[in-house]
Amino acid sequence: MEEILKVKNLFVELEGEKIIEDLSFVVKKGEILTILGPNGSGKTVLLKTLLGLIPFKKGKIVWKDQIKIGYLPQGLTPVKIKSLPLSVKDFFQLKQKNEKEIERVLNLVEIRSQILEKRLGHLSSGQFQRVLVAWVLIDNPDVLIFDEPTTGIDVGGEQTIYSLLYRFWKEKQATVILVTHDLNIVYKYSSNVLCLHKGSLCCYGKPQQILTPQSLEKLYGTEIKFYKHIH
């Protein structure tokens, strides 16, 4: 498979503090790469650096030419934009999309088009997150970068988001880079797992190899029980 992204000896510093140290990895087309690590390990910084939102000190980040990236940042909630009189339709029109395109993508995330007239800040967390996913998917990106896309959503909603993403990934042959703390999701969907510990590569491989009590303890510094489900 062709390489979509190549990261080599990456160093990132924020205000003099080392956040990412000597990180190298490759992402291939169609891969679902999960980035795992405790809070403060540099996951979000890594994603933002890959996106060019944060400058890096040393190393190389090479994306395949002409690649379209869709990004869902962490921590976007309806409460944050409650005061904004912005309807769901307005939100899509910020991207200059017509109704047909909007409808197609709302179908994809299983939301009825009646929602278009509602205010974005008045949606429930689950609906809001689905609208965000739709907003990202509407451009048909080749790569999806999602930073904890299910924070603040209940278990059912979480499952829905991931199965939607999975479906899009399958249909589009997209490449996904995902940060999540949900080990079940990691186990079920990832092709590869990259563990970050204090900004350095702590482990890398298939989820079956990584999600062992030993490596999880090494990563999180405490014993983690993870039960593999048999599907």
Binding site: G52, P73, L76, S83, P85, S87, D90, E117, R119
Partner: protein, 253 residues
Amino acid sequence: MSQFLLSLICGISIGIIAGYLGSLMLTKRMALIGGPLGHLALPGIALALFYQFNIFLGALLSIGIGAIFIWYLKVKTEISMEALVGLVFASGVALSFLILPIDKAEAALVGDISLITFFDLLLTIIITATLFLLVKKIYSKMILIEISEDLAQVEGVNVKKYNLLYLIAIALIVALEVKLVGGLMTVAMFIIPAASAQNISRNLKQYTRASTIVGSLSAFLGIIISRFTSFSAGPLIITVATLFFILTLIFKR
């Protein structure tokens, strides 16, 4: 052209653009920045009144110097923005009273539409028309920045550039507002129309329209009422806007 007509056209133009831009200020949680900017303008207004040169230029000059001063302090020290704003607020007012005795400061503080000249009218129309087009162009990008700066940047929006354009637009309008409502109340012309619009709007189109309408209508009615009463136009414009706000509370969605 009569003085009344001059001030009426100026007032309406400024009301439109202040309402329009105000709708962005309210959502950008930067609503209060218009206040300190107005106070920054005060020493310049005082100088202009004292030495009898154009108030707009005086205001703009001292806003510019003040903004650079704040920016410098922000970069060089760890003092919070709130504290810097407080510092600027007080020193701006103090400095202007030193330049201009308080019994002569009325025009600087609450505005005086009888000072509006034909040159001001031309200046106002050129600036407001240009800014209207500019704001229209950056509007959706500013909304995206408000939702999430990271998201906007990934969508190719140059956040720093747009924030700077936006600040320049605010500074220009504050400088225009000074003759109309004075240095003390500039912030109200941005905030009150937008807050009223927020009460009654469900989407962006309604919101910007309502804010623009409340802004221009307040200026129009304020100036009309001042012609037939002994009150000055500035406080009347703001009072009318406040009445609109109260009215929208009744129809709040």
